[in-house]
Amino acid sequence: MNIWQKLSSIDRRWVFLAMALFVAFPVLKPLGLPVTTTKEVEDIHSFIENLDGTKPIILGLDFGPSTAPELTPMAKALIRHSLSKGIPVLGVSLAPDAPGVANDIMKWAESELNAVMGKDIAYLGYKVGTLNVILQMGQGISKPFPKDYYGNNTDDLPIMEGVETLEDCAMVVGLEATAISDLWIQYAGDQMGVPIGIGMTAVSAPEAYVFYQSGQIVGLMGGMKGAAEYELLVNAPGAAVQGMDAQSLGHIVILVFIILGNLGYFFGTKGQEISRLKSLRDGEK
């Protein structure tokens, strides 16, 4: 096996090791690369910036621990922003693994931002049934959520004053790890006419571009980059901005491996087996 062939067949554990090292390094020693903001994120920011009055924002905390590194910074930056504008934030969860994470975020807002629970922020907890819950909220928020996560009657919370249904809220910002964003858009947005902003894991964000492009959502935050942008827009760089250096190096590692693989492919024996399926080898799709 010559060197080119070796290049095109590196054991995947070496790839893993390189990845681990290059992502770990900037976590320990940040490089401080600059972060630029994009229009999708600015759109959400300016929408909230231009909100009048004290109608609450519904914050859909629909993510569990697995996607928290991307979405928690978004939640924190958003809460920081709207509370600074005097707009209360009402958290709800439609994903079963969300309450643990959401509870931590609420506790953070209480201690970091001096938010008053029940008045500035509230968390209604998780309810099974995703779209049934959204539709029911359109009829009355306390219908699916008679009590908040901490056992208080939802209708007695100061935050609920003058708020009955979803339509009484300033907007919904859904922070999503799964397809729940589609439901917010279809039902709360298209059906009830509530403005929707979406924050998504970078995986799902490409799919949501269609909705941004068609005007069904006011703005879109994608992944840790989107979170970092929002952190910068509200002048409070946090975990997401910190993570951006590691992102850059991680991407470079992958690109280097792609280049190595292609060098190996072109200079090594080109006739390597590409597909192991005969039907596909005959007529490469």
């Binding site: 790839v15 390189a18 690369l33 819950v133 009590k147 490409p206 269609v210 980059k225 991407h251 992958i254």
Partner: protein, 222 residues
């Protein structure tokens, strides 16, 4: 009866929900009431469906233990941890809400979070090895895939802007701008086509379920 009754139920509930979409519900009381009732019911039935999964799981592992499967130690782990965690969650909660149960939150933070987040983070490694192995410019399609991936990958992180500056690429020819364009135009076009097709498929399936043509969910086969 055993087939007709469920089919009738699916037909009635389905047709009503579809119909209520078109009605200004606030003006028509009976529609609004049935609509709310069905929604409320489905939330509760959903919980039972989820508990069905729990029951199936426990039965399966209990069977493993009874059969003295070679791996029955692991079945013990499953059953024991299920029991302990639900005991903490159910029995140790005071008052009306789990939000005040700090022990439960502790278990969540220190077991559920690391397990699920680490499992998910393995993807960072797998995405690298998949990209390395699969992104080879062997034909037009694969090359397009490779180039689009590389540009977006680099254009979406801060270093993309740094590289663009170094190469003197600016405005709409900078890497972040090209990445953005790929996301907005070709990506939207393709995703839109798939979304439309899948949407038609979903609509057709839902219609067939309501009219009793599609019965897979009942277990009666075709």
């Amino acid at each position: 009866m055993k087939t007709k009754l469920p089919l009738t139920v699916a037909f009635l509930t389905g047709i009503f929900m579809a119909f209520s979409y078109f009605v200004e519900r606030d003006n028509v009381d009976w529609v609004r009431i049935i609509y709310e009732e069905l929604n409320q019911n489905n939330i509760v039935i959903g919980v039972f469906v989820l508990y069905l999964g729990v029951a199936t799981l426990i039965i399966k592992h209990a069977k493993n233990i009874r059969d003295k499967d070679s791996d029955s130690i692991y079945s013990w782990i499953v059953i024991a941890s299920t029991f302990v965690v639900s005991w903490i969650g159910l029995a140790q909660t005071e008052g009306d809400s789990i939000g005040t149960n700090d022990n439960f939150q502790w278990v969540f933070n220190n077991f559920q979070v690391p397990l699920s987040a680490t499992m998910f983070s393995l993807l960072a490694f797998f995405v690298a090895s998949a990209a390395y192995r699969a992104f080879r410019a062997r034909n037009t399609e694969a090359t397009l895939l490779l180039i689009a991936a590389a540009i977006v990958m680099i254009g979406r992180v801060p270093i993309g802007a740094v590289i663009s500056d170094a190469l003197n690429l600016s405005g709409s020819f900078s890497l972040p701008a090209i990445a953005e364009w790929i996301m907005d135009i070709p990506n939207t076009a393709a995703k839109r086509a798939i979304t439309i097709g899948v949407g038609l498929g979903m609509t057709a399936t839902a219609i067939k379920i309501i009219f009793g043509i599609e019965r897979t969910y009942m277990g009666s086969g075709k």
